[in-house]
């Protein structure tokens, strides 16, 4: 049941990414290019997504617990540290270079190009290497 929910969520999320243009790296780079030929439309993706989630979460949290689990599992870390910020810096560099963040990168696998395979394999390598860097 839980896995089925993840499957459904993945489907809906992916349609959201595709309709909004997040799976078009050139469009993403155009959104980030605020000093050049800026395409501001992607700001609406984040804006609407945040507002929708903000309202939706409030309604969901009115219930004592989620439908399929015993409790909500929310991040407990509170403080802003160097690990958080340095991670965000590295991610920002990678996102700026490629126009790809993790969700759109996975969706783009269906394009079947060598470039996207290389990116996703490197991303998974990064996932594996990262915990070793922390120690």
């Amino acid at each position: 049941m839980k896995a089925l929910i993840y499957l459904l969520v993945g489907c809906v999320f992916s349609v959201g990414l595709i309709l909004s243009g997040m799976t078009q790296p050139l469009k993403v780079v155009g959104f980030l290019d605020i000093f050049g030929s800026w395409d501001p439309s992607l700001a609406f993706v984040m804006g609407v997504a945040v507002l929708t989630t903000l309202v939706g979460y409030r309604l969901v949290f009115l219930d004592a617990k989620p439908l399929c689990e015993d409790s909500f599992k929310l991040p407990t870390l509170q403080h802003i540290d160097m690990r958080l910020l340095s991670g965000a810096v590295l991610f920002g560099m990678g996102w700026g270079i490629s126009g790809l963040c993790p969700g759109p990168a996975l969706a783009s696998l269906v394009a079947g190009s060598v470039g996207i395979y290389v990116f996703v394999i490197a991303m998974f390598l990064g996932f594996v290497v990262a915990p070793k860097l922390i120690k």
């Binding site: 990414l17 599992k73 920002g92 270079i97 990168a105 783009s108 990262a130």
Partner: protein, 142 residues
């Protein structure tokens, strides 16, 4: 042009909806880097759920690619070493920073998390500067 704003908003609505669904049913943050990286993590996690999530992403993508391939063009036509480096940066960065555009940028900000606000402001600023520098360099070199 107007069309792209309408589509962007509709997409944003669906992204928000998927985050709400996951919280309502499973009580989890929709963070792509977290869910996906747990597949290759040694820490205990529900790998079946992670695999199902990726499968869901791929199913929708495969369907929409049939409708219009321009929606999912794949990676930018840049050198493979550049894409490799970008992939490593995204993988390492999202693990160190505990989140990406979805987990911090959407869910975290919607929870008014200080950490997510700081992370999002940081990666947005760095990404904008990166694009600026790349454009500057390619202008100089060409």
């Amino acid at each position: 042009m107007l069309n792209s704003y309408v589509l962007a908003s509709a997409g944003g609505l669906l992204i928000g909806l998927s985050a709400i669904l996951l919280m309502y049913f499973n009580g989890r943050i929709l963070g792509v880097s977290g869910i996906v990286s747990s597949l290759v993590s040694l820490a205990p996690s529900n790998k079946l759920c992670s695999a199902a999530f990726i499968l869901g992403i791929l199913i929708s993508a495969a369907v929409f690619k049939q409708i219009n391939p321009a929606w999912i063009p794949g990676a930018l036509p840049m050198s493979l070493p550049s894409l490799f480096i970008a992939g490593i940066l995204v993988g390492v960065g999202t693990r160190l920073g505990n989140g990406c555009t979805s987990g911090h940028g959407v869910c975290g900000i919607a929870r008014l998390s200080k950490r997510s606000l700081a992370a999002t402001a940081t990666f947005m600023t760095v990404a904008i500067c990166t694009v600026y520098v790349i454009n500057l360099l390619s202008g100089v070199l060409s």
